[in-house]
Symmetry: D2
Subunit: 471 residues, 4 copies
């Protein structure tokens, strides 16, 4: 569907690849869906950091000459969407800093919910902050004990960081990946066979870390495993290492929304194919909320896998009754006079030949304010549909996320205030049904003790502070 | 699929709309798939032409201030892909000129196959050519009889123009649409209800013309009918008019490739839904060339409708086994070291979870050189597929087009030189089959006397001159 | 001074230089003061034209890769300021066209005063005009006799062109320079020794033509002579040639304003140093209109030579009492609240330390509306000057130019409507005096029969048509 | 002359002006000659900082919408040239940081010569550095005592800063200007009458601080006085205040090069008109090193005032024998084949008509490597001069500057290694002479105890550390 939820970051790291900057560029390109506001790459060459950052899309920020300037066979990168930070470039990640021990760079996916109180504490100790980014806290926490080994420093810092963090760090001699004990955000490890040797050393492959496996597919790397919740993994001249934070938790809080909407369907997230999860959501939805209809039509593109599942389970034929225009550019000049439902039409065009005189099941992945759904249903009816049965392949969204997803505020979430019946009337559907939380858990083959579904069920897995938004 | 064929133009025109320039902008935006190299808009205000043109995509060429400068409630526009003309802006359409009777602007979809000899004739008569565009011939042919009525002039000019032309013209007092007698390229007429009155006159609606109906859908216009082959339609202060060229033909030569690949699936072309044609091509393909398989997988996006048809007819489940990445920007920095099949991977990612251990029918709309298909099949096999049965929802492409489609030269069309069996081996498929010409004609519900299928059957509907490429 | 008059073009041509495009670029760069709106270069390589044009300054329009693309050892170029043509690129020169005999390109400095009637005549004969440029007439006049030799064609065309023209043309086999019989605009011929051989042929030098000699200085070419009024000079594979138009005139009409304001002071125009002419204008002004004062202060930069002359003749010390800020960029954001005389101050800063308690003679080259002079005098008084005696090193400007200079309309020329005394009061000077026409003629060492001074004395050397502005 | 020395910064600040951002923009625009690499503006609105920074010229970095976004009636700005910092934006000033007490922004002209050791000390204490800028030290020194009053903090910080600093700071409630005890760099205070009232309060004027008075001239502010060496001046809601650093020195070290080359001639620096200083340098040079000649010719623009002085004292006529082309853009494509002395010619064109057969005194402000002077003399001789007597209006430059001027390294300064006689031969002059140090001091009406002339006499007024370049 139209972009309704925004994940706020993707991270990437690579160790020992002769084209480290280009591979990072590709790794960010493949993960562009996780953040379109800004991006950056930091490489390490002879103990020094080189970087290039900018506002916009990966493909626009980096020119060939920028990547050539980023020499060195180690690199990390980040792409980001953020409401915080405004028009300033200071918050573009990876953040870099000079510590006594050398340069350090960090890329962060997630959100530290106790960023504000820790920041004040640090300022009392003489710290100055250049940006408004929660991630800057980590750098200051590390700087406070400059003589300490960095892995020790990270363990100590973890004691002061609550919330979601999948970090990738690059120091003068190490690539480090670290995931919070509850495992909110994904973080995966892979290997990439080097076509040529690096540094004259015999290094047969490069290590890679990323938020999603689709980054590995593009650069031809093999998926090894997830970085575990609470794990600190690193690689240095001696090889790879792994330790665990002292703050290990029993339960987990993997973000179920990664499977519902964020992650690319061709990624494997928390060990599971996203496309298959979504198809199962559609199948279970068909079981839970069947409809008598002639055709199943997805709201493209995000509703397609669930619609395939719904169609297969119900036996009702699948049709691309709404065509999505992919030639849409980044900017678009609106007509000043009103064209009905214009904002939706510029992307989605329901087809009269398919919809006319049909009873239609429309499948969407989720529903935020209801305004877009309302327009889609209007357009489908204008195209001649007799009945429109709206089915949402996730439960009603009733609360915001504080762990790194850009959700609308609670008062804008229609399901936080309205019954399903009223929502159905508001959007003009002949019937409306959502997937249940249980159905969703079944689809991701997990339990409520492994997944965070707070935006659906209100059960936030951590205490909440004042909600500073970030990363 | 990746963009393998390029149609070379879209045209648009509007008469009497208070937002003529913006509607034209939207009309071009919706037809961007027909030409991504350059675009232009000409408006008419108080007898004078205003225009803005540029290289690139519609959304990049026009800024809000450009559209505001283009005052007037009449306009035409053009978007174009062309191999001719090189780095010069002189060929960007609409072309404009000053005749004795006033300004004239023309937008052209199609190709005049006798452009060269007519051009030389005109130069002998003292004509100077500013560009290298076949369309410029029309302007000179009109200028030779400056005192004559423009409609008469067009009829006379038509006697000297062989080939394909769907013209939209804007003079100081008329909007004109004109289609060659064989009807190669589409051209449709519609009406748009004006939300506000124009010029103080009572004009309840605006007339619109376009190459495809998807342009009407976006601006909320109603489709009326096709401009007929050989018809000159125009609107002026007195209302609309229609005449026919004296050169009427019995047979027609509507381009079947519009249904196979070019047109947007949500357009109605030659009176027929493109999506439905493609689905029928898939269905007939399933009848003609069945395969024993577990799943039907389209090469997205252009193979999707035929794959739905194939799946429905064969009963084999439809799966999005290859995910297309739509976050691809316009430019892309290649890695300098080799990544296998990189050029395909950046757009298409086959999914291991879907394909593993499966017998797969892969559906594509057409096949040019075979190199991309080869890479796709490699990736599908790497993802674990047991068998790959390739099915093409059109016949083997054996010859170039001279009527306005940008085809590779004959020596690059693999089917011009190789048997189906050899092509199948080359691309590495377990089996390969194409739709027959008869099957294709059935799918578009037409006969060989109505459609041009020269690129498939070599039967060119006109004599061929030296093949100057254009428009 | 602030740019008050705009000359409308510079031309350049080069024949047989291994770096023809770069030399043309430099030749335009050196002549940038003659036109800052657009520029273009056309080269000739193997009988074909290559070109690059754009809006803006020469240094912005051409990138290194553009010049590399412009291969060939023959080239012409043009830089232009124009009020005509509006936002369209169609009028950017050199104009190019395809004639039966091959490609032709033309660059024009001057203005054809009978452009309109000739254009209508041509249109009646079937000509179409792509732009609104008077120069296009020449191309059509040549195209009317396509079989004729181009030199003959030019002679015939000259019979239909009244007004000012210094043309440089590049055909498939010749570089041609041609100047109107009255010799309004300058055009000079030079030679440039080639550091390397071209084409394997023994060509020891390249021919160059330009509007001003400063273009020769930059590229290290030697000045040979002026192209004579009424001369057609050309060079081809056989060498150089010269003929004269049949329409030779007895009297001449060289533009005196070139010496007053337009030309660079380091150019030699009509065989005379511009710097020396301006100094003499200052000297004669001092004789004609002395002033009792402590210091002579120029309005920089254009008033400097005349101020040196005035100072030397009068014995009053020369002081840079007003400093010009040369770091001014092209655009400038105005403060929204008023700063007194801001528009002048951003460029000119009078110095209190120099001006305080002084009687000051201020020298400017000319005076248009008087508003800027008024502000300058205010600033000088604020800086503490006791008396301000304004002296203009040219006569009162009373009429517009129709021969290629961009003058304000008559109603904006203060001297067309006010006595010198009243102007003096309006600008707030203690005294005001202009140079006489006789003094000016003495300074350029010529007579009224050789120079056009129509903007000062109203004696237009040709009949006037409806005044189409151009080139 | 061509830009041979680069001053490295200009600062600006304004308190209580309704157009604070625009005035700062103008203040930087007027001081653009002091730094062309990057610029930034920070405003204060309701206790919060807003900023915009960028690489390039002031006129390119700021668009009207940027200035509109920078609300608030307090602002500081900075423009900078720097060899340090490379391609990163992190060093663009004003630097901003979040302290416990609120936001702080600082703009710095000068160079802290002990930046490196202090930086290491701070890192040991847990500080992280985002850039490579010496100015960042000040922020960390202030952050170390977060509870302390900022003025106290600045006094303490001053104890740890050796070298040159003219700081302008903007906190949440104060505009502060602070100059090092030796007074290396200029810093001036002014008042600007407000055309409209601010904040509803009765504030009749705005306070302004700047590096040079030319910034005041442009915005219509009145010069009040210099900020004194060792002074901390600030303004807050209660009005203006002044205190002195405890580290007061007896002697001073005002940079004499500001008068020789850096400052704009229309500025008043250290209480003295720069234009008048330069004229006096020329006069004294004429007394010290007369020449028998026909004309005095400046190397424009920077040699002009001294040439006027030399001419007046010697009685030899002043002539603009070399014309400077001010239409030079920022970039310039070099010809690949050699044009003799091209790099000089693109800006300077000696005039044959003025120089032919003349004995010429050429006046330049200073001489670095001698290569440019050599080319100028070649060009002058080519233009026909009989004799060339080169006179430099400053002493031989023998050492680099460590206090904020971008000087070439010692081995590139020809006078550090060659006698005047040998330099004269190298540049090809008939005679060469420099101004003496005593003559220069006389011209600036000061003594060696007030001015730093270390680049001329090697007497550095502070101990030298490892020479980290900055600011």
């Amino acid at each position: 569907m139209l972009q309704k939820w925004r994940d706020k970051c993707a991270v990437f790291g690579i160790w020992n690849d002769p084209e480290a900057a280009r591979m990072t560029y590709l790794g960010l390109y493949a993960q562009q869906h996780r953040g379109q506001e800004s991006a950056g790459i930091v490489t390490l060459d002879q103990g020094k950091h080189l970087f290039h950052k900018g506002m916009g899309l990966v493909g626009d920020i980096f020119q060939a000459e920028d990547l050539e300037r980023l020499t060195g066979n180690k690199a990390i990168g980040h792409t980001r969407y953020s409401t915080a930070g405004g028009s300033t470039d200071l918050n573009i990640q990876p953040l870099t800093a000079g510590l006594l021990t050398g340069p350090i760079a960090v890329a962060h996916n997630g959100n530290l919910i106790n960023a504000e109180p820790v920041r004040m504490e640090l300022q009392k100790g003489g710290a100055i902050f250049s940006g408004t980014n929660d991630t800057e806290n980590l750098l200051h926490l590390l700087a406070r004990n400059p003589e300490k080994d960095i892995i020790e420093g990270l363990k100590q810092a973890a004691l002061q960081m609550d919330g979601a963090y999948s970090f990738v760090l690059l120091t003068h001699d190490r690539l480090i990946a670290m995931r919070d004990p509850l495992g909110f955000r994904p973080l995966v490890l892979g290997k990439r066979r080097n076509p040529v040797q690096t540094d004259g050393q015999r290094s047969e492959f490069a290590y890679v870390v990323a938020s999603e496996t689709c980054a590995f597919d593009l650069i031809g790397a093999d998926y090894l495993r997830e970085i575990q919740p609470g794990e600190i993994w690193w690689v240095d001249a001696q090889g790879e290492h792994s330790e665990f934070l002292p703050t290990q938790e029993k339960r987990l809080a993997k973000c179920v929304f990664e499977h519902v909407y964020f992650a690319r369907p061709d990624s494997r997230v928390f060990g599971l194919s996203v496309y298959e999860s979504r198809k199962r959501m559609g199948e279970i939805l068909a079981q839970e909320s069947p409809a008598e209809a002639d055709i199943v039509v997805p709201v493209p593109d995000s509703g397609v896998p669930a619609a395939i599942g719904y169609s297969r389970e119900s036996g009702i034929p699948f049709e691309l009754g709404i065509i999505r225009n992919h030639y849409i550019g980044r900017t678009f000049i609106q007509p000043s006079q009103s064209i009905r439902s214009f904002g939706v039409k510029i992307k989605l065009n329901p087809q009269m030949e398919v919809l006319k005189n049909k009873k239609v099941v429309v499948i969407d992945d989720s529903l935020v304010r209801g305004t877009t759904s309302q327009k889609i249903i209007q357009l489908i009816r204008q195209a001649g549909a007799k009945e429109v049965h709206f089915r949402i392949a996730s439960p009603p969204t009733t609360g915001p996320c504080y762990y790194g997803v850009d959700t609308p505020q609670k008062d804008q979430l229609i399901a936080a205030h309205q019954s399903v019946e009223k929502i159905g009337k508001y959007i003009g559907a002949d019937s409306l049904a959502y997937l249940t939380v249980e159905g969703m858990m079944k689809a991701v083959q997990g339990s409520k003790h492994e997944f965070c579904a707070a935006c659906f069920d209100g059960k936030y897995p951590t205490p909440l502070y004042s909600h500073s938004e970030n990363s």
